[in-house]
Subunit: 569 residues, 2 copies
C-alpha cells in the first residue's frame, strides 16, 4: 500500500516509481484514444502516464497495448461452481480484475451468513470482488428459499465492498409499489440499485424506472435495450452460458448511447470460463463484429466504473488502481499479462499467486430431505397439462399445453414425445414439500439428473424419465450435502459434490470442471443433447423469468406472476 505523499512524489518525478511500463500503447478509454507513452506504478496505484519517469524496474512492452483491467458489471460467482479464490484463478488471467457480484445464490441458501462468507472468501485476492446486496431473497413468495432477507438485514451489510442493492428481480412488485420492495429501495436510497426487468416496456417500464433501479441486464432484443436506455436505465449486455444476448443487443450500441452500456457475464459455468473466457471473450466477439476495440474496451472498464461510482479504477490514469491488461493486438485481444494492484499476477493464462493456505469456513450445509417425501407420482385427470418448454441457450421458457401421456392411472414421462417429469424438492426446512410438473427440451431418453443448483431457491431440482431414477438422483445429491448427480434406475452414473451451499466446491476449478464434464457426459449417455442439461435444468426453477417455471410450491406462470395448476383448467 503506497501512502499518498509517496504516490505524489513518484507522480512528480521526485522519487523513482516501482515499475515503469515503457514502449507500450495505452488504450485511453477516457478520450477513446491510443497513446504511445509510458505508465509508472507506485505500490498498488498508477502514479503517472507520460514520458521522463525513472523506476526501480522497467518493463519493455515492445509495442504491446496497455488496457485498464476489465470490470464484470454483474456476475453470480456461484454459477462457476467455484468459491471466489478459484473463480479468480479462472477470470484474472483473462483480464478481469474487478467483478460486481450478486451473491444471491448463496444468500438464498444461507442468508447474510452466505453473503458474509463470500465477502470473507474474496478478501485479499488479485480480483476485487464488490458485492451488491441481494434484493430478492427469496425471489418471490412462490418458492421456498433457505433464508428471508428484509430491508433492515440488507442495509446492515456495512462492508465497504457492498455497493448497493442487487438486481431487483421482483419487477412486478416494483412496478406496483409492493411495500416490501419500496422498503428495500428506501433502505438503499442514494446508492446504486441494479434492475432486472425482462421484457418490461412502455408504461410499466416507466414505473419500474421511477421506482429506482438504474440498470437492466435482461434485454434480449436491441429494441428492448434501446427503449430501456431512452428511459434512463443503463443496459448491461450479457453473454452468459445459458443466456447469450450480446450479438442481438449490438445494434443498440450507438455513439449517443454507448456511455451507458456495460458488459456482464451474469452466469458462466466453469468450462465456459476456462475454454472461452469471460469479459475478454465478449470483447473479442464485439471486435469481430466490427466494434472499434477502444470503444469496446470502454464498455468493460470506464463505463461500469462510472455506473458504480468506482472512481479508483476503469482507466489508465494517475491515482487509479494499477489493474492493467497487456495484449499484443487489439484485433485479437488475447490477454498476455495482467497486473492487479501494481503486481504482475498472471501471464499467458497462468495465475502467479499462490493458493491461500486457509480459507474461511463455509456455512454448515442446508440439507433436510425426509426420504419418504420423494413421491413423484401425478394422478391422471381429464384435460391438458401445462408443460415447460426449455429453449436452447436461453433462460426464458415457453409454456405449452398438451394432453399428457398416462399409464396405470398416472401421468408418466414419455421420452418419445420428449416429455419428462420435473420436480423441485424443498431442502432447507425439512418440509418434504415437492412441486411437480412436466418439461420438454431436456431430452433425456432414460434415467434422471438432479442438482441443488436450482435458481434462486436452490432446492433440489430433478428431471427424469422415471420416478425411481429421480429418487436415486435426489438421494445422491442429498447425500453429498449438495451437488449434481445423474442416475439410471438405482445406479448413480456420476456426481459432482458442491458442499458450499449446495452451490460451490472449494476444489480447484479445473477439477470441478472435470467432474462437471463427468456428470454432463453421464446425462448425454442418458440421451440429453444439451450443452449442459444441469445448467438448463437449474433455471427451470427460476420463477422470475418468463414464461412457465417450477418451484417447490408448484408451477409458476411468470407473466401472471402466480402459481398455476398442472392441469389447464
Amino acid at each position: 500500500m503506497t501512502d499518498l505523499p509517496t504516490l505524489l512524489a513518484v507522480a512528480r518525478g521526485d522519487r523513482p516509481a516501482d515499475i515503469r511500463l515503457t514502449n507500450g500503447r495505452v488504450v485511453n478509454v477516457l478520450t477513446e484514444e491510443v497513446e504511445e507513452t509510458d505508465v509508472v506504478l507506485s505500490g498498488p496505484r498508477i502514479a503517472g502516464v507520460g514520458p521522463g519517469y525513472k523506476a526501480e524496474e522497467t518493463v519493455d512492452l515492445a509495442g504491446r497495448y496497455v488496457l485498464p483491467g476489465f470490470i464484470d458489471a454483474h456476475v453470480h460467482i456461484e454459477s462457476s461452481l467455484a468459491t471466489p479464490p478459484e473463480f479468480a484463478r479462472a477470470v484474472v488471467p483473462r483480464g478481469t480484475t474487478t467483478v460486481v457480484s450478486d451473491p444471491h445464490e448463496i444468500a438464498n441458501v444461507h442468508g447474510l451468513e452466505g453473503i458474509r462468507y463470500m465477502l470473507a472468501a474474496s478478501e485479499g485476492l488479485p480480483l476485487t470482488v464488490f458485492v451488491m446486496a441481494s434484493s430478492c431473497v427469496p425471489a418471490t413468495q412462490m418458492g421456498t428459499a433457505g433464508a428471508v432477507l428484509g430491508a433492515e438485514e440488507l442495509a446492515s451489510l456495512d462492508d465497504p465492498r457492498v455497493l448497493g442493492l442487487a438486481e431487483l428481480m421482483n419487477y412486478p412488485g416494483a412496478i406496483h409499489g409492493a411495500p416490501e420492495v419500496l422498503e428495500k429501495l428506501a433502505a438503499f436510497r442514494g446508492r446504486v440499485v441494479d434492475g432486472h426487468a425482462p421484457g418490461v416496456s412502455g408504461r410499466e417500464l416507466n414505473a419500474y424506472v421511477a421506482a429506482g433501479p438504474r440498470s437492466d441486464h435482461e434485454c434480449t432484443t436491441a429494441g428492448e435495450a434501446e427503449e430501456k436506455l431512452r428511459r434512463g436505465l443503463w443496459v448491461f449486455f450479457r453473454e452468459a452460458t445459458n443466456a447469450k444476448n450480446l450479438l442481438a443487443l449490438l445494434p443498440a450500441l450507438s455513439a449517443g448511447s454507448r456511455r451507458r452500456i456495460a458488459l456482464c457475464t451474469d452466469d458462466r459455468q466453469p468450462a465456459d470460463l476456462l475454454d472461452r473466457g469471460g469479459i475478454d471473450q465478449m470483447l473479442r466477439m464485439l471486435i469481430a463484429e466490427g466494434v472499434d476495440p477502444v470503444v469496446a474496451i470502454g464498455l468493460a472498464t470506464l463505463n461500469p466504473a462510472e455506473y458504480f461510482g468506482l472512481h479508483d479504477r476503469g482507466a489508465v490514469a494517475p491515482g487509479r488502481r494499477a489493474d492493467l491488461v497487456v495484449v499484443p493486438s487489439l484485433e485479437e485481444l488475447h490477454v498476455e499479462g495482467v497486473f492487479s494492484g501494481g503486481k504482475l499476477v498472471a501471464a499467458r493464462g497462468k495465475a502467479f499467486w499462490p493458493r491461500a493456505a486457509g480459507s474461511p469456513s463455509p456455512p454448515a450445509p442446508s440439507m433436510a430431505v425426509p426420504d419418504d417425501a420423494l413421491d413423484f407420482s401425478i394422478p391422471r385427470r381429464a384435460g391438458r397439462v401445462r408443460v415447460i418448454r426449455a429453449i436452447p441457450d436461453q433462460i426464458a421458457t415457453d409454456a405449452v399445453h398438451v394432453p399428457p401421456t398416462t399409464a396405470g392411472g398416472e401421468v408418466v414421462a414419455d421420452t418419445r414425445r420428449d416429455l419428462l417429469k420435473i420436480a423441485v424438492v424443498e431442502r432447507h426446512s425439512g418440509s418434504g414439500r415437492v412441486g411437480l410438473g412436466l418439461v420438454t427440451g431436456i431430452g433425456l431418453r432414460r434415467g434422471a439428473i438432479a442438482g441443488t443448483v436450482a435458481h434462486d431457491h436452490h432446492n433440489i431440482v430433478v428431471v427424469g424419465a422415471d420416478d425411481e431414477s429421480m429418487r436415486s438422483a435426489v438421494r445422491a445429491v442429498a447425500g453429498l450435502r449438495g451437488g449434481l448427480a445423474a442416475a439410471d434406475g438405482g445406479r448413480i452414473l456420476a456426481s459432482l459434490p458442491l458442499p458450499v451451499g449446495g452451490l460451490m466446491s472449494e476444489a480447484p476449478i479445473r477439477e470441478i470442471r472435470a467432474s462437471l464434464d463427468g456428470v454432463v457426459e453421464a446425462a448425454r449417455t442418458l440421451g440429453s443433447p444439451l450443452h449442459d442439461p444441469f445448467m438448463a435444468m437449474s433455471f427451470l426453477a427460476l420463477e422470475v423469468i418468463p414464461a412457465l417455471k417450477i418451484t417447490d410450491l408448484g408451477l409458476v406462470d411468470v407473466e401472471a406472476f402466480e402459481l398455476v395448476d398442472l392441469w389447464v383448467e
Copy 2:
C-alpha cells in the same frame, strides 16, 4: 411532493398525471435522440415518457422541444452581486434549474456562517442550489481572509445539498502533498472533489490528479483541456464575464471525450446574466459553432448530473425531477418556458414565483479599517518595479518590469504610461495592513475605484491615479459596510452598496445592475475603457491565478507561489 406509490400509479397509467405535455419533441440526452412523444408529471417528478397517458391538465407544446433543466456545474453566486433568491430570478427564466455553487467568496469573509447563510437563503427556490465546501479559505497564506476553514470545519457541513469539496485552488499544495490539503482531501474521501489547476501539465498534472480532484474548469486552450481529459479530469468549459474560454476549448470536444465535459459560468456579473444569459447563452454559442444541439444540451444536463452523482435530474426520464425547459427551436435555443419541480415557474423571461417575504438575516458586516491606515505612499528607490498587467477578459495577468515614474521622492501613478497605483486594504481584523503595487491595463486617467469584491480574501482593493482619490474611494466602501465606489479627489462619483459580506445586495438584481452600471459609467468618465473595471480589479487580488497578483501582504508571484517585493531586486 408526490409519494412514490402515487408516482408509480401515474407511471403505470392507473391514475391521471398532474400535467401532460403533448405534441412536444423530447430531447433525450440519454441516447442523443429527439423523440416525438408525451411527458407526464406527477408532483415534482416526471412519471412517464410516452403516449397514452391521461392528466388533470394538458399542455399542447405544438412541436416545441422539451429539454432537461440546465445545470451550471460551477458557479460563485456572489459574482452576480445578488443573493440566491435574486440570482434565481435571473437564471431560472433562462433555463438553469440547478447550480453547483462554491460559496467561497462569502466563506472567505464569514466562514461557515457565510456558507450556512447561502444554504438558508437558497432554500425553497425553484432553483436547486447545491454547495461544494469551499476548500481554500483562505486561498493561500499569502493573503488575509476573514475566516480560516480547516478540514474538520468543512466536513462538519452536513446539509444534504453539500456535495463535496469545492475547487482545490491550492494546486501547488496538492501536487506537493501539503498536509493541510491532504487533510481536506481525506475528510472528503469518496465524495466529489473539484479541481482548479490552471496551466498544470505533465508530471505535475499527474500528481494533481493522483491527489484526488476529479475536474478542472481553468483550461484556456484546447490542448490543455485535452491533456486533462486524458489524465482523468472532467473538464468544465467556462464562459465567465471575465474569463471567456468556451470557444478556445471547443476543439477538445470529441466523440470520445464529450461524456466528460460540462459547462459552467463560474463568475458572471449581473448585466451579463440579464442581457446575455448563462448556460443558455453558452449553448447558443456552441450551436452557432456547429455543435449538434442535442450533444450541446447533454453537456449542460446529463454530464454534470453524472459527474456530481445527481441521479434525480439531468434527463427527461421517469422518476427524475420535472425540471424542464421548453424551446421553440434547437437552432436558436431561446428559452420560452421553464418547469421546476413540476411547476411552470417562468415563461418568456418572466419569473412567476413571488419574492419571499422574509429572507434569512445575513451575517453582521466584516469591516474594520482604521482611517490612519490609508497611506498609499511608495518611497522611491533605484531600479525597476514589478507591474501587474491586466489582460482584457482574462483573470490571468502578466508581470512586467519597468522603471517607475517618480516625483518628490515617491513612486507615483503615471496615467500617460497607464501606470496606476493598486492597494489592498485588510478589512476583516482591523490590522490596518495595506499591500501596495502598480498596475497597467485598467486605464483610469484620473480618480480611483475601490471595492470590497476582491477575490478571494475580499479585502478592499483600490486602483487610482492619485492617493487622495484612492483614500476617498476606500472610505466610501468602508462607510457602505461593503460595496463599490468611484471617486475623483474628495468627491464620490457613484457607489453600489453590497452589505451582505461586502459582496452581495439583497436588492432586486435589476436594481443592482443599474447601480453597477452607474459605478462603471463613473469609472469610464475617469477614463477606463474596460467593460467592467471593477470586476477586472477584483481578480487582480486573486493570488492563485498567474502571474502577478496583490494581497494585503503585498505582491504575489503566483508561479513561484511566493510574496515578492515591488522592486525587482
